[in-house]
Amino acid sequence: MSGKRSFWQRAAAAPHMVWSVLFIIAPLIFVLYYSFTDSQGNFTLDNIKSIFNQKYVVIFVNSVTLAVIATLICLVIAYPLAYIFSRMRERWQKIAILLTMLPLWMNFLITTYSWMTLLEDTGVINSILKKIGLNPIHMINTPGAVVVGMVFCFLPYMILPIYSVMAGLDVQLIEAAADLGCNSFKILTKVIMPMSVSGVVSGITMVFVPSISTFFISQKLGGGTFQLIGDTIEGYFTGTAINYNVGASLSLILMILILISMAIMNRYTDTEDTKGRPML
């Protein structure tokens, strides 16, 4: 790039700059401000300290556990699916990807409500079970229901990056592996898997981050029987016990947690020079 950009080139970036400052930078500054001040606006570390007690640690552990489980389930479903998609004829690939993205076009609040009607004690699934003479199963308001909600809402974000890496793999590499003695299984483990790491890393990041911070899914499908970190933060900003300072501190800690896990994940892709780049 040669040095100076023209006035108009810079002007073209202005709307995005304004947007970033207003809706990304400013909120971050507010989070920092509230985290380190008390209700009078004086500097304090009490908010941060208050988080390191058992109540919040349990909430964090629960949140991480559910998010990890949801992410792993997404990975187990998405990886073979993405592989199958990438091996289909081009026309079918397009249809498969369209079907994958279809749920994303729906508001995920609506999706979550739909899952409520499915999972309720008197919901669709239990009605069907009763009809065919089986005992109803209690599903709503359990951690399992929350995980199902997370998996359903975030699965496309796992499939798409893995698929895009796999679809970009050079067919000649697969032929070369076959030529050098690999059967289909070894082609998968020796070539396709190592070369799709970057897609897996993007997928994990894109599922894990929204899973760990969700509050709506856990409220509707968890029914408030247990609290996740997202619910807790939301409670401090909109609930009955409003406390911006503790809420902001929790957000800050959550952000730091996410940044650390993303940094760890990206270390895996640093050494790989595969075709697809991580999307985050």
Partner: protein, 389 residues
């Protein structure tokens, strides 16, 4: 050809989307030979190679390896390795691991792997590159890694699909020699695919000229060059003047309004024939000593020689001479009897060997088009492969 047959193709036919790519191919490949499939893009040479490798299955016909039918043997079970056109090195592995790949799959002990990789690196002149990432290598170096990766498995047959196509001229010449040496040293049968006739002639023991899914001629490079079977082969292998002639009797042929002595026999009296005369076999002489005379239309300096287009009785000849002749000059030409090659008439008669539309720009243009087609060809076969998986 001595030695025993290692690969036999019998009646191989293959079409893609209703388009015939190989039309009833029969080919014997012998142990230890360097055989080249030569032809323009789309002639079926790469498909033939892929059928031997096992990446494609023929619609009809059989492939035999050591006398055993291998149509249904998957690629990973064949004692055949391939050097791919675009190298197809594994980007997630370094040079050492790329070369060791086949041995690791075969679960060869670590100690032996290390020794054999070392040996291969020496053979392809890449000592000290073990830990380098393949993406940091130059085209020529990647090519060597690809060759080492294939050769280390001690295949019975090595397939090379236009392996030098992406290299520059100088490097290509060096690699041609190195490949030839490697073939001698290892004694492995090389099946080489190229559209470059010079490459085919200089490297091969046997050349197979293909066109439109058919084999035109199989022979040694000198046979193919000196005794082409038809106008297509004569034109594809180097420059040639191809003239309508009449075989008067054995060793007497008439063309361009004159009768010439030649060395060919076995034609019917007064049989119409195609006569091939290579541009370098025509001597320029003063008009009064010429067997034929004509007027020079263009002269192009080519470094080693001049390329001269001469109008002889309305037919444009190409002549290569080291002596300068001036445009528009009247010259005589002289042809030795053994420089005249007589061929039977074929479906290709009259299609090649006339330089009346000759122009350098056109030449360049058609070369570019050919290269473009080559790329499309690859993409096509890649697509087909994908569908199969």
């Amino acid at each position: 050809m001595n030695g025993k047959k290692i690969i036999e193709l019998r009646g191989i036919t293959k079409s893609f989307d209703g388009e015939m790519v190989l039309d009833n191919i029969d080919l014997d490949i012998y142990d230890n030979e360097f055989i080249t499939l030569l032809g323009p893009s789309g002639c079926g040479k790469t498909t033939t190679l892929r059928i031997i490798a096992g990446f494609e299955t023929p619609d009809a016909g059989d492939v035999f390896f050591d006398g055993k039918r291998i149509n249904d043997v998957p690629p990973y079970k064949r004692h055949i390795n391939t050097v791919f056109q675009k190298y197809a090195l594994f980007p997630h592995l370094n040079v050492y691991e790329n070369i060791a790949f086949g041995l690791r799959i075969a679960k060869v002990p670590e100690k032996e792997i290390s020794a054999r990789v070392k040996e291969m690196l020496a053979l392809v002149n890449l000592r000290g590159f073990e830990r380098r990432r393949v993406t940091t290598l130059s085209g020529g170096q990647q090519q060597r890694v690809a060759i080492a990766r294939a050769l280390i498995n001690n295949p019975r047959v090595l397939l090379l699909d236009e392996p030098l196509g992406a290299l520059d001229l100088k490097l290509r010449k060096d690699m041609q020699n190195e490949l030839k040496n490697m073939q001698h040293k290892t004694g492995i049968t090389f099946i080489y695919v190229t559209h470059d006739q010079e490459e085919a002639l200089s490297m091969s023991d046997t050349v197979v000229v293909m066109n439109a899914g058919k084999i035109m001629q199989i022979g040694t490079p000198t046979d193919i060059y000196n005794e082409p079977v038809n106008a297509y082969v004569a034109d594809f292998i180097g420059e040639s003047n191809i003239i309508d002639g009449l075989m008067i009797s054995d060793k007497r042929v008439a063309f361009a309004g004159h009768r010439f002595d030649c060395v060919d026999t076995g034609f019917a009296p007064n049989e119409p024939v195609d006569v091939v005369i290579r541009p370098e076999d025509v001597d320029v002489v003063p008009v009064e000593r010429g067997m034929l005379t004509g007027r020079v239309t263009t002269v192009t300096f080519k470094g080693v020689h001049y390329e001269v287009i001469v109008d002889i009785a309305g037919f444009k000849w190409m002549i290569q001479t080291t002596d300068y002749v001036a445009p528009d000059a009247e010259i005589g030409i002289y042809i030795e009897p053994d420089a005249i090659h007589v061929m039977k008439k074929s479906e290709y008669s009259g299609m090649f060997g006339d330089y009346s539309s000759y122009s350098e720009e056109l030449d360049l243009l058609s070369e570019n088009i050919e290269e473009d087609e080559e790329v499309n060809d690859d993409e096509k076969s890649a697509e087909y492969e994908e569908e199969e998986l």
